[in-house]
């Protein structure tokens, strides 16, 4: 008895003639631009969070961090529909029969490994990035370190992939997708250009539906955005006072802000902080998760507080929070930020005393800075020496 031969699809089993290098290459170029944008803006954010910066992260422009990180999340989001269509367009290649010659086989295996690395890293970056924005932490690994490392892997694998495919890409980009061998729209219902247009539109839909949650006006269009403006405060909150375990210590009458340098130490109550010259600045809280909202902050300048202990200009300041947990319990305010006259120890937001969730009794607010470093519930400013 003869068994029927199992049907293993090969590269030619896929019938859609919408697939073509002309389509894949065009999608690939835009995916590459999106990945490159996400990579560069991601590096900016990581550098902003380095404690000892060989080149100081700039204090301005005020909108620098919010724009780059908004762009980071938007470019990643925009890449998702394009990557999915791109992977569809090259899916039959997964079933290509391996070459018989051993030399070619080795090359083919190396290329396939590099593509697996690229696809695996890209999917993981995008999936965990999207989940992280929604604060759905469905993993045990360190997101920040993994996202950073995988970004280098994805970009490296992408550059290698471009090197391998360069002749194909050049040839494909020089040809009209709907020339000669293209499918007839009357038969397939769509041209290749039509397919590309839908991919661009799908990318736009994804960005519009998710990317502008905290942008005034557009926030209503981004119906699937993870973050929103808080109706009362206007500002979203990442870590609430309850989460941080500061409710008791932040509202205690024993609260003092301690400013210290070497053995010199000044302790101030909130009333004494309010008695210092108050300044008001409009500065955004800008999160690496892509959202940002302006606040009108009022409080003494950090520089004025440092003068109480005669801290020399350019001194880095270690900021300690009342919070018991979390990676940002202790942060460093670099000298150029500490000396900037817009950098405040905010006591009020939008004309009202700080709410507990926004950092009562006092929080750091500085221009062009990651939100995670705008330390809330500040307990101490220690001048680093």
């Amino acid at each position: 008895m003869r068994l029927p031969r199992p049907v293993v699809p090969d590269e030619d089993s896929f019938s859609s003639r919408l697939r073509s290098p002309t389509v894949s290459a065009r999608l690939g170029v835009v995916v590459g631009v999106c990945f490159g944008t996400a990579f560069v803006t991601g590096l900016i954010s990581h550098y902003a969070q380095v404690r000892d910066q060989p080149v100081p992260f700039p204090v301005g422009p005020v909108w620098g961090y919010r724009v780059t990180q908004g762009l980071h999340v938007i470019s990643g989001t925009a890449a998702i529909p394009l990557l999915l269509v791109k992977l569809w367009s090259v899916f039959p290649k997964l079933f290509a029969r391996p070459p018989r010659r051993i030399g070619l086989l080795v090359i083919e295996a190396a290329e396939r490994v590099s593509i697996a690395v690229l696809v695996g890293a890209a999917i993981t970056e995008l999936a965990t990035g999207v989940a992280n924005v929604a604060q759905w932490y469905a993993w045990d690994f360190n997101f920040r370190r993994s996202h950073f490392a995988l970004a280098w892997i994805a970009i490296g694998a992408m550059v290698a992939h471009i090197a391998v495919k360069l002749p194909v890409i050049r040839a494909a980009l020089g040809v009209d997708p709907d020339a000669d061998d293209a499918p007839d729209a009357a038969v397939t219902g769509m041209t290749r250009r039509g397919l590309l247009r839908m991919a661009w539109a799908g990318s736009a839909v994804a960005v519009l539906a998710t990317g502008f949650g905290t942008v005034r006006g557009l926030g209503r269009v981004s119906v699937l955005a993870a973050r929103s403006r808080d109706e009362a405060e206007g500002l979203p909150v990442n870590r609430s006072a309850v989460d941080a375990g500061v409710t008791a210590s932040a509202t205690s009458t024993a609260y003092r802000l301690v400013v210290s340098r070497d053995s010199r130490e000044v302790a101030l109550t909130r009333e004494q902080l309010l008695a210092l010259p108050q300044h008001t600045e409009v500065l955004p809280i800008a999160c690496v998760e892509g959202w940002s909202v302006d606040g009108r902050w009022t409080g003494p300048r950090i520089r004025d507080l440092l003068d109480l202990v005669d801290a020399p200009s350019g001194s880095d300041v270690v900021v300690r929070s009342l919070q018991q947990r979390g990676p940002d319990r202790v942060t460093t305010l670099q000298g150029n930020f500490a000396d900037d006259e817009r950098t405040l120890l905010a006591l009020a937001l939008n004309g009202e005393p700080l709410a507990l969730d926004h950092g009562f009794p006092a929080r750091v607010i500085a221009p062009n800075r990651p939100g995670a470093l705008q330390t809330k519930w500040v307990a101490a400013l220690e001048v680093a020496t």
Partner: protein, 149 residues
């Protein structure tokens, strides 16, 4: 061209190698195992689940549906599918916090329905344009071109 490709390939391998070193030097084995599950899981979910489903559904539609309804369906899938995947964390994830309405605090079911409606409308518009163009071409070729039916 050859020199450029070799240089580019080398640079790519170096960058990825640096990423690999970052990955392995800064987390413990349990974390790396979990990350490996995500990476392999991502490839498997795409290559063995999502892509085959799309291919099979496309193949079935090509046989079962007339050309323009099929075009409408394909366009709707391209527009709505990815954004739906992106919305999975807010639709089904565990990120929301009852004490903090500024995280995942929207009515996402309603939001998705609105997006779906918008996608269907855009797909309908694009399909109608293709249909009109195809009819126009057909009329122009009437009597001279080959009969497509």
């Amino acid at each position: 061209m050859r020199a450029l490709r070799i240089t580019l390939g080398g640079v790519g391998v170096l960058i990825a190698g640096y990423g690999g070193w970052l990955l392995f030097s800064r987390q413990d084995l349990r974390q790396l195992t979990n990350l490996a599950e995500w990476i392999v899981g991502g490839i498997v979910l795409h290559d063995a689940v999502l892509a085959p489903v799309v291919v099979v559904v496309g193949w079935l539609c090509a046989r079962a549906l007339p050309v323009h309804p099929r075009g409408l369906l394909v366009r709707t899938v391209i527009l709505l599918g990815p954004v739906t995947l992106i919305a999975v964390p807010v639709l089904f994830g565990g990120g929301s916090d009852p004490t903090n309405p500024t995280i995942d605090g929207r009515h996402y079911g309603h939001g998705w329905a609105v997006v779906a409606l918008a996608c269907v409308l855009v797909a309908l518009l694009a399909t109608t344009m293709t249909w009109v163009t195809a009819r126009h071409d057909e009329r122009r070729h009437d009597g001279t071109g080959p009969d497509r039916r």
